[in-house]
């Protein structure tokens, strides 16, 4: 069936289209050329509407053990947001950690058609994919966590050949069905199990004798040589500690030209000025990033209200547990592989610290002048649930609204941030880059994040409303693979999305020492640690899309 979307104002940065009025045609789930004879089977009138590709969230905790721990921990988080089933949708619950189906519905109802889980532990990969398999309407993928797993640290400490380390990274990406690699508090999750309570960039792990800098550089370089598109996704050292901006600046310099992505950088941009020894380091970060075009970031914006923080960073979460609200939290040491920490939290606009966190995030958005290198995230649910994105977009696009909002937050906090002086307003084009084209390019999703010919017909149509929050909350139409799934902000059809993975080359010979290792130390066999394609495809409920990698190289 050939469908025409007529006369919308199209924002498609991948194809350099900035608000031009265009017709878009799609058939069999793909954007196609206009038919020569002009005949179409169905037409949707998009005149006066804003048209973009379906949005992509490149960092959102939607699946896996820690999210389900968070769901378990806080039944009261769900009580006020219970969702009844309809003839086409399942029952579920919302709020900070919504149930899987509700996650899919609400993302789609906001115009999102893809979302990526950024912290999949290899040991928990099967469950992460099961949960994502129960998340409808979205394409998804996951970043596998390395860097506190014994095998990598053991290879590094034992000065294994770099080719062997690359084989292990690639093997893990295959085994866990990942699209990218993330490192969380590099080495620190492991160090915490050895009772180290902090691990700075150049501090040695007490057992392996290696540093976070070693781990970051090893993984970043490994991924480059394996040809993986998304750079190493880094949750750095010292999350949440005043003064950690120095660590962040040092981490950026440590990239030494290697591509890197620093995630939820807001939580890593804290300086120590003022009476409270807590101030914004956003200016320093933004300035340094201008000199490092190889480094991209996402923000991890804080929004006021109750949420639940869920992270692989057991070391820092344990430390933050004293601030749990309500006073109830979970920390886990997992399989000599990784860990997690789940700590409920309430960000209050009248709190000096929370208001400053809020301001630092916004400052970061407004100071970084290259929207291709900054992605819109709240690190759902850590800074706020993903439903707050439209509000955040309005804060970025509407200076007056931002000023008015600043009147309600702790005024002292604003003195330690440049936010009150920032005049910039994001354009529609900037927003389209940050929520579509940028993440797609960074993740190597060639046919997502744009609406050019050949793209997947994931398309969102918005009413052009001066109230940007209202506009981005309730898209008029959302198409997934060319099927209309949302009308006026409500799901009208449920389809399943695909799972994106990469399959970098590796030498199969690595399975010999790996099998011996698993047999000797683990409680899961190597053969069962690996997640098969069939487990994701699951009789046709799921689909795997293998994204290309560049040829493997050696330095």
């Amino acid at each position: 069936m050939l469908i025409k979307l007529t006369g919308g104002k199209v924002y498609d940065p991948t194809n350099n289209i900035n608000g031009e009025v265009r017709d878009i045609y799609f058939a069999d789930g793909r954007v196609v050329e206009a038919p020569a004879d002009g005949r179409v089977d169905k037409e949707y009138d998009a005149r006066g509407r804003v048209v973009m590709a379906g949005a992509i969230d490149p960092h959102t905790h939607i699946g896996g053990g820690k999210v389900t721990i968070a769901r378990t921990l806080l039944p009261e988080d769900h009580y006020k947001d219970e969702v009844a089933h309809t003839s086409i949708t399942r029952a579920g619950t919302g709020h900070a950690t919504p149930s899987t189906m509700v996650t899919g519905y609400r993302y789609a109802e906001m115009g999102y058609t893809s979302a990526f889980e950024p912290a999949m532990l290899p040991a928990n990969a099967r469950q992460a994919h099961m949960e994502m398999g129960d998340t409808p309407l979205l394409d998804k993928g996951a970043f596998v966590m390395l860097g506190s797993d014994d095998y990598l640290l053991r290879l590094m400490a034992g000065q294994a050949s770099f080719e062997q380390i690359k084989d292990y990274i690639a093997w893990t990406m295959h085994a866990a069905q990942a699209i990218a690699v993330k490192v969380v508090n590099p080495g620190g999750i492991s160090a915490f199990k050895f009772n180290q309570r902090k691990l700075d960039l150049d501090e040695k792990h007490v057992y392996y004798g290696i540093t976070p800098r070693d781990i970051i550089q090893t993984l970043a370089r490994g991924l480059v040589e394996l040809g993986v598109t998304h750079p190493l996704h880094i949750h750095g050292c010292n999350l949440g500690i005043p003064g950690n901006v120095e660590t962040t600046l040092a981490t950026i310099r440590a990239s030494e030209g290697l591509p890197m992505h620093l995630t939820h950088i807001q939580f890593h941009s804290y300086a120590t000025e003022g009476d409270r020894h807590f101030s914004s380091g956003a200016v320093q970060v933004a300035e340094l990033l201008k000199k490092y075009p190889n480094v991209s970031i996402d923000v991890g914006q804080v929004m006021f209200g109750a949420t639940c923080t869920a992270s692989g960073d057991s070391m820092r979460q344990y430390n933050g547990a004293k601030n749990a609200d309500p006073k109830r939290w979970v920390v886990m040491d997992i399989e000599c592989d990784a860990g997690c920490g789940v700590v409920p939290f309430r960000y209050r606009d009248k709190s000096f610290v929370h208001a400053l966190q809020w301001a630092i995030g916004l400052e970061t958005f407004l100071l970084c002048d290259d929207p291709w290198r900054i992605f819109l995230t709240t690190d759902h649910p850590n800074g706020a649930p993903f439903y707050t994105y439209p509000h955040l977009i309005r804060l970025l696009m509407d200076r007056d609204f931002r000023r008015e909002t600043m009147l309600h937050v702790n005024p002292e906090a604003l003195q330690y941030s440049t936010l009150p002086h920032l005049e910039r307003e994001y354009s529609m084009y900037d927003v389209a880059i940050m929520t579509r084209a940028g993440p797609a390019r960074s993740l190597g999703l060639k046919d997502l994040g744009h609406v050019g010919v050949g793209a997947r017909a994931d398309i969102t149509v918005y009413k052009d409303d001066a109230n940007r929050e209202r506009m981005f909350t309730t898209p008029e139409l959302v198409f997934k693979n060319g099927e209309l799934i949302v009308r006026d902000g409500k799901v009208i059809k449920v389809v399943n999305g695909a799972t994106h993975v990469v399959r970098p080359e590796y030498d199969r010979a690595i399975e010999k020492p790996l099998k011996e290792y698993f047999d000797r130390y683990h409680t899961v066999r190597m053969e069962n640690f690996r997640l098969s394609d069939d487990e994701i495809i699951d009789g046709g409920r799921g689909e795997i899309i293998v994204q290309p990698t560049r040829a493997r190289t050696s330095s």
Partner: protein, 457 residues
Amino acid sequence: MTAHAEGDATHTYENVTCPFCGLLCDDLTVTRTGSTLKVSNGCPRATAGFQRPLPPAKPMVRDGEVTLDEAIKAAADLVRQAKLPLYGGMATDVAGQRAILAMADQTCGVVDHALSDGQYRNLRVVQTSGWIMSTLTEVRNRADLIIIVGSDVHKLHGRFFDRIVNPEHTMFDGFGTKRTVVFVGEGLDTSGAVGPRVDEVISLPVAKDRIPEVLAAISARVRGFSIPAPQAAAPSTSKMGSMFAGLVPGSKLATTDAPAHEIAGIPFAEIDAVAEKCKKAQYGVLVWAPPALSMPQADMTVHMMTEIVRELNQTTRFAGLSLGGNEGAPSAASTCTWQTGYPLRVSFANGKPEYDSVRYNIGRMLTEGEGDLLVWVASIGTDIGLPQTKLPTIVLGTPGVRLAQAPTVFIPVGTPGVDHAGQMVRCDNVVSLPMKNLHRSQLPSSADVLAAIQAAL
């Protein structure tokens, strides 16, 4: 028509995951000849589970044999008429849990697992204070102190000691190389703790209902409090345990200045020695199997353990490790949590998931005469058979499952990891494992039967 596998050729399966307890050991070798299985390295429970001769079983409707299609139609008729169907048992894999939840959602029913009472001893703690926990591989390699509380682990999980406590090798030279194993509770089989890594075995053989007193003493000692001896309690107040006497409002702490000689029959010095070992441990672990903690308010016992763990983490590393998890209970709780936000005991009666861990306890509902249909899934072991009830019942069961009465509709189903492939969640709620199809029979999976019933609604 159990539809046994054809022929008698022999097949050998390696790296087989065992569905018969929450450890999900995945290193089994199973040989199948026709429909007969032989396990070469299983614990007694695994061996019994895999090697149990499968009795012939046919779909039944009210004592009469029917075809599978007729049984599905009869089941759909019952479900369609029900106003509040109860979906219990839930002993199945993740695909089965998904199918139960889909049907319960559509038919406005209630979901609960047969072994929820045990799981809720943990869940109440998570939902009131949280905890610090570990997992099997972590404990196997890292722990230098393993304290097993009130649970006869050797009997419940036959390979726990072989796989977690006794392995010769550890990932970390100098960490967890030698370990102390402490048993708290009387009548626990300590024979499993042997081998080159087990340095010392300590037993505190306290009666099960007095375990909380010993834990309270350990808790006090790791916090640095002294434990004075109680005064002889006056006969009139002796119903209160002496340790609680000081908590009665208005009463003064009835103690002497002398230190306690014993607590719950265990010499104080022995308890104190364990507390000292806790403080000195590099990575200590408190282990329990929730179903074994049958003392009243066992969640308070779990809580006491998790608070000891929390205290010790101020200076060293310590964690809990919960075992149990038989009959697919962690698969049920995890799947229900990610799909609804709540860990079982959920009612969809008003179309939304409504959670109440007391009200939607299906055991209680049956006793109180609530609900008007029981759908019971028992696809793994034969022990969690259909409970006594006057309600009409639909049972999806492994052939030979214990039934308190003849169900209205019985549909024999396969066991995940034996008769069909699947995925299950391990007792530590982190690792999940693939379940292999060993082709013992051609029995359908509970997920397929449930989907067929739902399609026929």
